[in-house]
Symmetry: C2
Subunit: 348 residues, 2 copies
């Protein structure tokens, strides 16, 4: 049979190729590039079709589809969340994504997104911190030293000039793992045995813990004036990390309020609790940090547009690298009305 | 680096492998098998999570995600609809689908669905006709001889005992293509030059034309008593094929009323126009055909559960065939918390 035409082939980036692509570009350069793509898309926030994620819940987890479109490209991410998976040797979260051409409806990229989501999440955090953290911030407390912690640290280094990270996790082996992974990468690492120790001298406080419960990782009296809180781990209903008192004293910035009010730290607050949509800070329509003593808080839950930016970045950077394979995913008969003929001819 | 574990690999059925699988099983046997899977899922209709499709519309087309779950497996189909594509040498519709394990959230199958959708659509039509067509029906008028026509004909042959098909299309070259594709496959073929000629002696009238407009492929006076109408082509807002008068005289059976009232032939009728949900006929909760002179009408638009059945069928039938490849789509670090370590080790 004849080879499928180019139109019928969809470039696919496997986990192995994604790792090769990251090393080819360089992790910090890729985080910077992703942050630029994400910031560019935040600048044109209103050009996106914003749908809430489509979730299918079960007793043990959730499977979600997160679609969005800017009118030229259409993207979606498949992502699951199964906290019990870790105890069975599986990932809590796995993800893949697809980008398509709105004009033809044809997919143009399929890619793993477990790694890519880790990168886009930390690139988003750092891009936001660049706008909101106090001037000269160079020390971060990293509370929760799981899968996201090294990426958060390196993104803050690459994008915000972070010099020192102070690690804390209630599991010391997680802190050891994180410290070891970060050693030799040009960042001062201080391993701490209490969260109170970790926040000493830090202008950026990042919380990224994994338990699905309303926890209090930061209590009210731990957070002083003049810090930026980057709250990653409160990202689904019933899962928060901050004491409500901290939220009351902070100026809270969010991605997409209808989603954050359900999934973020502010699920603890009244429905009309005031928040600023972060895209308005990027475009100059809203104020970011207004004085040095203010507490700014990015209540991050992850939004489809950030995945879209990441898919765009990959599409634009795989050409010529060889770090993808072509999948024969779309039927492409010579005569579009003759699908049956294509099938018949394949027999010979 | 080490090879990804089996859990991280997702079986992928390309277009080429789907064609090989169809020939390996045999097209008619596969249509029969698909009809059985679809009928089984109609029998347990209430065990499904039924979400309306998630559509992203543009001026030239639509991209849709169609998810569903039975609590054990989760499936979705990506499908586009771009009528203008044909004039640019592209498919109007392309599709792919994914099946995942609800318990882990891990994908277990990725497959092309352009061909598979053609098969599941015709298997559904024939399964429904088996329940609704007049006894002894052995002649079908096939109006619209495009990509679906040969599959419809062979499904009716395999599942309902069809002996003769009477072809009509307003483009004679489409009829020639269909007649040629069906020749030698054990069915009598009569090519007709008018729709009035095509319906002579036919107990099953199938309409499957492609123009996106309210057309009248069957006028009221063409349809006599004692027939089953299998209306495939009226499947989106603004696209119908039957005169409203035919609907008024028919008993209308549908897949999922909230979707069919928007997309099907009954979009022409009042919101409370009476219809029967077909799954109730399969389970014996509603009457199918009650007398020989009745006109039954299946107002088919295609529903997510039929795709789910087709995905289940493929998952159950690829093992041992070799007609798939394993995609390294899910990151699988030895320690789930150590995504960064997996990335670092891949460098060496």
């Amino acid at each position: 049979m004849s080879h499928p035409s180019e139109k019928a082939l969809v470039p696919f980036v496997s986990v192995d190729n994604m790792m090769k692509l990251i090393h080819h570009i360089g992790l910090e350069d890729m985080l910077k590039g992703l942050a630029t793509y994400i910031e560019d898309d935040f600048k044109r926030w209103n050009s996106f079709d914003k749908t809430p994620r489509v979730a299918s819940h079960s007793e043990v987890g959730v499977i979600e589809l997160m679609p969005t479109s800017d009118g030229e490209a259409y993207g979606f991410k498949y992502v699951n969340g199964h906290p019990k998976n870790t105890s069975e040797g599986l990932q809590t979260v796995t993800a893949f994504g697809l980008l398509a051409d709105v004009y033809t409806g044809y997919p143009v990229l399929l890619t793993e997104m477990t790694l890519l989501t880790a990168l886009r999440t930390s690139a988003t955090s750092a891009m936001v911190a660049k706008h909101l953290a106090p001037q000269g911030a160079d020390t971060m407390a990293m509370i929760g030293n799981g899968a996201q912690s090294e990426f958060q640290t390196l993104a803050m280094k690459a994008i915000c000039g972070l010099k020192t990270v102070r690690l804390y996790d209630n599991d010391p082996s997680a802190t050891r793992k994180c410290a070891q992974n970060l050693s030799g990468l040009g960042i001062n690492i201080v391993s701490c045995s209490t969260p109170e120790d970790a926040i000493q001298g830090a202008q950026i406080l990042t919380t990224c813990t994994a338990d699905k419960q309303c926890a209090t990782i930061l209590t009210d009296n731990m957070v002083g004036a003049g810090v930026h809180i980057n709250a990653i781990g409160g990202d689904c209903p019933g899962k928060t990390e901050l004491a409500a008192g901290i939220l009351s004293r902070s100026d809270v910035f969010v991605e997409f309020p209808p989603q954050t009010r359900i999934e973020g730290e502010i699920q603890q607050m009244a429905e009309d609790f005031p928040v600023t949509e972060f895209w308005k800070v990027v475009t100059g329509q809203a104020q970011g940090r207004s004085d040095a003593r203010q507490i700014t808080l990015f209540d991050s839950v992850g939004f489809a547009i950030e995945d879209f930016s990441a898919l765009r970045y990959i599409r634009d950077h795989i050409n010529g690298t060889g770090y993808y394979e072509d999948l024969d995913m779309l039927a492409d008969p010579d005569d579009p009305r003759d699908l049956f003929g294509m099938l018949t001819r394949a027999k010979t």
